[in-house]
Point group: D2
Chain length 495, copies 4
Amino acid sequence: MVHFPQLPFGLPDDQDDDKPREECGVFGIFNDADAAAHTALGLHALQHRGQEAAGIVACDGEQFHSHRGLGHVHRVFKSEKNTIRLEGSLAIGHVRYSTSGDPALRNVQPLYADLAFGGIALAHNGNLTNALTLRHKLVEQGCIFQSTSDTEVIIQLMARSQKVSVEDRLIDALSQIDGAYSLVVMTEDTLIGVRDPQGYRPLVLGSHGDATIIASETCALDIINAEYVRDVQPGEMVVINRDGIRTLNPFPQQGRRFCVFEYIYFARPDSLCEGLSVYEMRKNIGAELAREAGVEADVVVPVPDSGIPAALGYAQASGIPFELGIIRNHYVGRTFIQPTQKTRDIGVRRKHNANRKYLEGKRVILVDDSIVRGTTSTKIVDMVRQAGAAEVHLRISSPPTAHPCYFGIDTPERDKLLAARFDVPGMARVLGVDSLAFISVDGLYRAAGLPGRDNANPGYCDACFTGDYATRLLDNETPSEMRVVTRLNERRKTG
Amino acid sequence: MVHFPQLPFGLPDDQDDDKPREECGVFGIFNDADAAAHTALGLHALQHRGQEAAGIVACDGEQFHSHRGLGHVHRVFKSEKNTIRLEGSLAIGHVRYSTSGDPALRNVQPLYADLAFGGIALAHNGNLTNALTLRHKLVEQGCIFQSTSDTEVIIQLMARSQKVSVEDRLIDALSQIDGAYSLVVMTEDTLIGVRDPQGYRPLVLGSHGDATIIASETCALDIINAEYVRDVQPGEMVVINRDGIRTLNPFPQQGRRFCVFEYIYFARPDSLCEGLSVYEMRKNIGAELAREAGVEADVVVPVPDSGIPAALGYAQASGIPFELGIIRNHYVGRTFIQPTQKTRDIGVRRKHNANRKYLEGKRVILVDDSIVRGTTSTKIVDMVRQAGAAEVHLRISSPPTAHPCYFGIDTPERDKLLAARFDVPGMARVLGVDSLAFISVDGLYRAAGLPGRDNANPGYCDACFTGDYATRLLDNETPSEMRVVTRLNERRKTG
Amino acid sequence: MVHFPQLPFGLPDDQDDDKPREECGVFGIFNDADAAAHTALGLHALQHRGQEAAGIVACDGEQFHSHRGLGHVHRVFKSEKNTIRLEGSLAIGHVRYSTSGDPALRNVQPLYADLAFGGIALAHNGNLTNALTLRHKLVEQGCIFQSTSDTEVIIQLMARSQKVSVEDRLIDALSQIDGAYSLVVMTEDTLIGVRDPQGYRPLVLGSHGDATIIASETCALDIINAEYVRDVQPGEMVVINRDGIRTLNPFPQQGRRFCVFEYIYFARPDSLCEGLSVYEMRKNIGAELAREAGVEADVVVPVPDSGIPAALGYAQASGIPFELGIIRNHYVGRTFIQPTQKTRDIGVRRKHNANRKYLEGKRVILVDDSIVRGTTSTKIVDMVRQAGAAEVHLRISSPPTAHPCYFGIDTPERDKLLAARFDVPGMARVLGVDSLAFISVDGLYRAAGLPGRDNANPGYCDACFTGDYATRLLDNETPSEMRVVTRLNERRKTG
Amino acid sequence: MVHFPQLPFGLPDDQDDDKPREECGVFGIFNDADAAAHTALGLHALQHRGQEAAGIVACDGEQFHSHRGLGHVHRVFKSEKNTIRLEGSLAIGHVRYSTSGDPALRNVQPLYADLAFGGIALAHNGNLTNALTLRHKLVEQGCIFQSTSDTEVIIQLMARSQKVSVEDRLIDALSQIDGAYSLVVMTEDTLIGVRDPQGYRPLVLGSHGDATIIASETCALDIINAEYVRDVQPGEMVVINRDGIRTLNPFPQQGRRFCVFEYIYFARPDSLCEGLSVYEMRKNIGAELAREAGVEADVVVPVPDSGIPAALGYAQASGIPFELGIIRNHYVGRTFIQPTQKTRDIGVRRKHNANRKYLEGKRVILVDDSIVRGTTSTKIVDMVRQAGAAEVHLRISSPPTAHPCYFGIDTPERDKLLAARFDVPGMARVLGVDSLAFISVDGLYRAAGLPGRDNANPGYCDACFTGDYATRLLDNETPSEMRVVTRLNERRKTG
């Protein structure tokens, strides 16, 4: 799910600002006595996919119960009351990334609507590339939108569909839509999971006793001790109700394009994506990077936490010792006092500190997963230098990020991307490193067990590296005056 | 505005529970540099018409700014920030009566929607009697409702109207609607006030320098030192924009039916309704009551605060001294500790206390404005007896309330109304008074300067006393399964 | 209880700003199954004596349970949890007037301390005139004060007393103290009420079944249906425990000096003070005022609510009709939006509105209880003029307030008092009235049934009118550098 | 700082429950334009030493400004307003570990008092072993305590000291005290750091331009880019003011007893304690453990995060590959929904998940830092087994924890300690591992570069392993009825 661009976004954490951000995680569970509680745990396991808001809708067979709020899952669902209220054996949930302030509350998913046939709730991970165009058409026809999220287009299309069954209305709606979506949808008696034909975002199927689960990642199954059954396939619609589990494939087939950045950064290392271990994939990339861009050095130091697996792979392949030369403070909140410019300049130390003993006088290979704007990398390199490193060689476990994502990842505009502004030597100069290397695109595919990138049918979406977008981007051609999604600037208060 | 009946309502204050409750107040102002601040003050003056929630939408010519919240006006708009944010010279606002809890937030008015022509906001005092029927038809056609209030039907009808101008869309929508409505509507450059053809609820026009104001009562003009121009007429639509003020009369004419209970209880005593002083009208009723139901006594004691003007009228007409024999504590909140049944039994003293010196040994004429369930009256009579009154004669400045209201007043179901369960002598026994008298229906009309009730064309709505409803009540015939407005039980959290 | 003058005080409500303010109310109950709940109700009845903060300490015979907070009683004790927690059959409580912000929390009474013999809690209405002097001496001796209130001096003196019993320690402490105090004190098994030798502030004894109650006013007995037994006498200490009720008179006798302003303004009209009905006293003053300062007019109009009884008395004595020519809006919060100067100028209408019909063309006698700064009176007179009054004659039911109070009332500094700046004709000019009259000092005593003021032994404290202070004011002679009570500016947060 | 044992402690996080907990961190800065902001950052770096509450007191040379609150540092100081208010170039701060609920607020440090010479603030890391005894004596003498923390005894003793200067009063107070304390103290112009004669808890001196800093750990210097100067020595008092830095050694010398658990678990790995790198020390222990208790295996897996350095040391020494076979979810809040027993049973997965690919079929060496109750270890071993591990060998980088700590660490009572209930083979059975080994006491000293433990003068406090307490434990001999510190159960509300 994404918001349309004219909405004000919250200021991100100083450091995470320099990472691309996953925009959502979804979870659904059918036939479980503790449906809402287990959904809350599942969302907690998916917290890395969205830290700003969380919501759950449960159904007891007649009434739907919803609780949504801003903040981390454990805050939104902190008191027992909140989930006990959410009665029913069927529930879906959603986490989304961070914007700030009250107005966003209307955008917190799952979205819910009373349609002619009954209630429906829907949670979305991904991004629709023609939502704006569809929205304008629908408003012309008399539709009133309550949120500013692209996801609501799906529900409005379902509401107006001439089809009878929920599945048919959903297929009808999705047939009009372009872009990336992994959805969980629920009615009063049915749970549906569906993935767009190219499978941009992950979605897995699990089971736990008599319960069936659909979730963004396998770690959300593990947290409740559920079993991983299989991935929902690109273009597949899984319909789960009392009659069992049915699979539909209602869309024309298209080439797979699973987001390779899920392996590099987004997904949790303990998850399996498309059957592959994310942690192993990261180690493989690190090892490949050691082969592609080896350098003599004393120590391999990850930028924690995300650089750790690739650094371990690099260290094991190169034989150079792995050390935690940088220590991360996990107590980091988004808001913090920084009254003067002077204090702001030292801000980076809030999250990372040099472990001086392991850097001083050393030739350091620093391993990180990606460079977006380069602001954080600059500060980290600086800190390592100040700690006395003799040489700093930066190795990045992704190719240069030079293109924006339109499929569910929040990236800065192109002219903010360091790799769009400089070539590799230029970037090395900006960052102040002795050497800089990125994994090659082919190296990335090799780490996934392929011989290299098959340009005709790559199998992964790597558009942020290659610019090769596999879906049309209709909204991108929309004139700017049409991009006004709402004229309302709203603030609500719960008294 | 009313909510549909299947929503849970908050527990009312122990005492007010026994009064009918006005359901809303509206305010709008055009061409005022302090539009939002003056709207907040206007709503504050209308606070008696709705204590549960308040909201303002302002427009700066391009963007709409909204702030809505639960609680009294001075709480929702307590910090300067909240109104300073609401920029623009055009604003409308709304107060509504009390339900409790978060879920209601989506129902707090003004409602806002982005329609094809731009933004629109709307605030409603009244109650539509065919809203449920229309809502079901609209949902069948693919409309998604965001609130459970009847008011949203108006906006959905406007969204789907084939008309071009805002006025025509609004006329189109209202033409399909039955019931009571005094509305303020705003677009980015226009303020519209409109009153249903029978004029059930009040609506007045005022001016203040270059600004034009529409409000439920004249007290909302007084608070900002604005001048009262005239009442908006039943069936009149007043359109205010840069071109000036235009009057439309788009609906077929019907007999006036201004709510007589506005005079008896709802409106503020310092307001003029339909040109009559509310305070004077109440005194007239008291005087009429003294003539109709005089009794020998030592003292006339009002049940404060609402019984005071009628008691003054009674005292002046009868020559019996007026005394504040009951003192009201104005520090009364809705929630309060009452841990045991024993404490609960003495609850009434929280609001009223006997001024013993003026009751002991006295023959007391107690004057109140109405009896609904009779629970509070019983406690008050009891308290007066305990204080040593020799006799208690209860005089009520309205006829017996024996029928529910469908035009914007919250009354209990018919079988809860004391006057629907007992005749006057029976009520006297239940209440434990020495004598009981209500003003007659004709007496009420005499107090308003008429010779009595003209049954062919009474001029006021007195349906709660007479059962004579002047508008069809379509929703009342709706089968109960259709009354389910939403299957969603929602709770939001602002983190 | 008062705070020392160097603490920042909250901004008062715009209008109440122009009234002297009572500074506290106290309540205690012994041997009651619902002790804390009944204390909360008692405090609610005393809310007019202090709106800023409230607290209760209860004891279950072993442990003391305390809950204290800022805001009105019904807010501080709004959930059942808060009082259910306060277990025990013995409780005391306190309300105090308004300062704003968090820091004040440490000053919210009852104060509690663990002394060598056990726990003790104490609540105070009044003001000590040598607290500052004692405090400095105690700090020199190694005492650490936790609050900035004068009341803590009493507890510190008790802690250091060489006496054995609680009563003796309390007598020991109070013997060192000058000024006004009506105290309720509790240990784990005893409730003590004590009033200073001159009896500046009220304190009454009541009973309710087996329970014994001590409270500031009788209205706090009425709310729980308790019986008024008698006033605690000046200089009397009442000790209540399982052995019954004992009376001690440990202090040298001094002339009575009950605060006459309690009758004029502070006490609730339904209370008895020193056996006299407050409402009747106010009516008597009004009648006396009619005799002293009669004028031909059409209507007697009170400034509501406090001017009502005197206006009634005036009207009855003069035969001129009483009318509510000014309507008060009771929904007034302390904080409210007033973004511009223009809006600020119209601020007064938030609380009072003219009932134009009863003022237009009329010769109006306006009755109010007091004039402090004169700011509100000016606005009210203005409003009455704007409503078309032909003449405005202002009658005040107290003598001119020309001197500050040191015995528990918050008055502005002398040079802010209108009566200290102008004579009566000068005040009339400032206020813009056709005539102005105050009740005479002797008239006040006549209203109380006395022949006039006995200057040798007046029986009431009327120092704010006469400047005749009956207690030495030691702290007033304290050099300013000694007035620094704490160097700490504190803010706490409950996370 | 510790609380006396009769206070109710909050429920700890499910997992951390099974770690000993550091009880405080302190920070002070002199002559810094951003004193409060830098103190907040310093406390943030010390967050691991106490997550429950945080406070700062700053002084502008005349007035002290305090802000204290419950929760993490970034929450307590989340808005800029909170620190901007804390003006002055001198500040001290404190973090403390977790108890829950409001009552604790009065215990949040720094403590502040107005003494005869002026204001003083104090923050304490450690635990006094005769505080209870002193407190009872002081109460007998008339002292009133406001908190229930042992720290207040120091301030009360200072208040009553006959000495003149602050230093002398502080020395006078500390001379009467037994136990562990690292203190920062401030007056309006002086910052003092002092460490108990045995130096149980850490305290370091740093500088940053013209500013001087005292902090619990060097990581609090790094975060503001300050330089580490040296450790404050056991028994040393450092007095910092405009005249410079003076060192006093007012106490009789005793043997050093720096807490060895600081190296094992408490201190941050990027800190230096007593000049040694904590990270290196942990790696050394791991390596020593590999030598002492080697075993054939396929993979070394740390229990993250605290087990990582020892596991790295073990892996490097043994040559067995290091893998993150357990992934930790850092988004863990204290409160979370767990509505049913079934869900509660799977609770551990909230924090840790198996990285199955690296455990399945493997012989796993699991490295953790300590075992307290053993509850978490059992769950982790279970999870590793469920993930398919062929063998599980648990290695612990501390000796068995068999004795409670009285010097500032929160440990469970002795009969809850697994090592007090079972021998090593017994523990292995309980935990379900194939083998279990702890580092030996001598091994621990070897890791610190010593030949082994010198029993006459060990140089470290290892009482939790050996039961060898180097300070008398007077309060432990106190009869239980004297342990009642307050009879007050308090709740405050900020309205």
